[in-house]
């Protein structure tokens, strides 16, 4: 961030932040524009000044949040594939995602709402390109699946973390002595370990 980004407006930025939070928590459909507006202390009509439709807010979220993934993809598409490049792709993806867990969660949990939206399709394209970069050329179906799981494990680590933090499913019998993790940093370290292991199975 060497240049000062000029946010199109402060309110616009705040709308995106609040919308992402609420969409992630409760889902796209269950979050009404009234709720977003109330949280910001404005009215619904004000939202419509900044965004043409509800779906357009999603588009704004993707545009502002997905930039690091694009950079990783652009980098990867210039490399000759090798196991080292593959591991570096995973490392960069994980690093970019660490601060962007809400975006991942939002996409993970709102697939139906996003399937028809252009923003959703764009994001899906990004993920498919990332998977292709990781799997390498002439990949078998198994290798495609391994690449998918390697990237997904980044994502899943944050869900496990979140469950641990919320103390979810504490009512279940036999929790055993399983290790919980309590910081984003710990979760990301573990995620990177497992993701690299799984991607190491490619072309095995």
């Amino acid at each position: 961030m060497s240049t000062t980004q000029s946010p199109r407006s402060d309110t616009r930025t705040r709308i995106i932040a609040v919308a992402l939070e609420l969409f992630s928590e409760q889902g796209y459909e269950k979050t009404s524009l009234r709720e977003i507006a109330d949280r910001l202390g404005v009215t619904k009509a004000a939202l419509y000044y900044h965004f043409k439709t509800k779906d357009d807010i999603v588009h704004g979220i993707v545009q502002t949040m997905a930039a690091p993934i694009d950079e990783t993809i652009a980098w990867g598409e210039q490399q000759q594939w090798s196991p080292e490049v593959r591991d570096e792709l995973i490392r960069r993806f994980a690093a970019g995602m660490a601060e962007r867990a809400p975006l991942l969660r939002f996409f993970h949990e709102n697939q139906p709402a996003l399937r028809e939206s252009s923003a959703g399709l764009e994001f899906k394209d990004r993920m498919i390109r990332m998977i292709r970069l990781v799997q390498g050329p002439d990949a078998s179906f198994e290798d495609r699946l391994r690449a998918t799981m390697a990237l997904f494990s980044i994502n899943s680590a944050f869900f496990l973390l979140k469950n641990d933090q919320e103390g979810l499913a504490q009512h279940l019998v036999d929790p055993g002595n399983e290790a919980k993790v309590h910081s984003v940093h710990e979760a990301m370290d573990a995620a990177l370990t497992v993701a690299t292991e799984i991607s190491g199975l490619i072309k095995g």
Copy 2:
């Protein structure tokens, strides 16, 4: 199936089938009761004779579809954990899921809608128990993540299959020579291979 199950009624069964299909395709929120009723050639009010609420339909779906998972969990909870038991759990889970891909897809894509519903919580409990059985006792956070990814890979294989069948993302440049797969059987074989590999990383 040695005994003849008496379906509570044929219409009830048909409602569940259609609802599962539509919920999986378009999501829970975007599927209206009118749409389900129309597809069946009945009215909304008829649905309310069989199910108290829209959410109750989800409950019906889970009850009828999740039985094989319960059997696997019950079996697993009686075993002393070992790598062999772990692999057998994955094998049984995959076998049960092969015909039940729509259910997995439904849960994968409707997390927000299901978070507060009792049916959704019940299903989540099932998955947590499966993960705990696979990860074994005294699991590290990494092992928990590995177990999660092993089970998820079954699920993801069906998504890849579905994308291949739909010819999705064909517009993306550089499809390469990646291998596509065209039958559920092939996808399940691959899924089992990868899931076993990943679970083999546990306690590595």
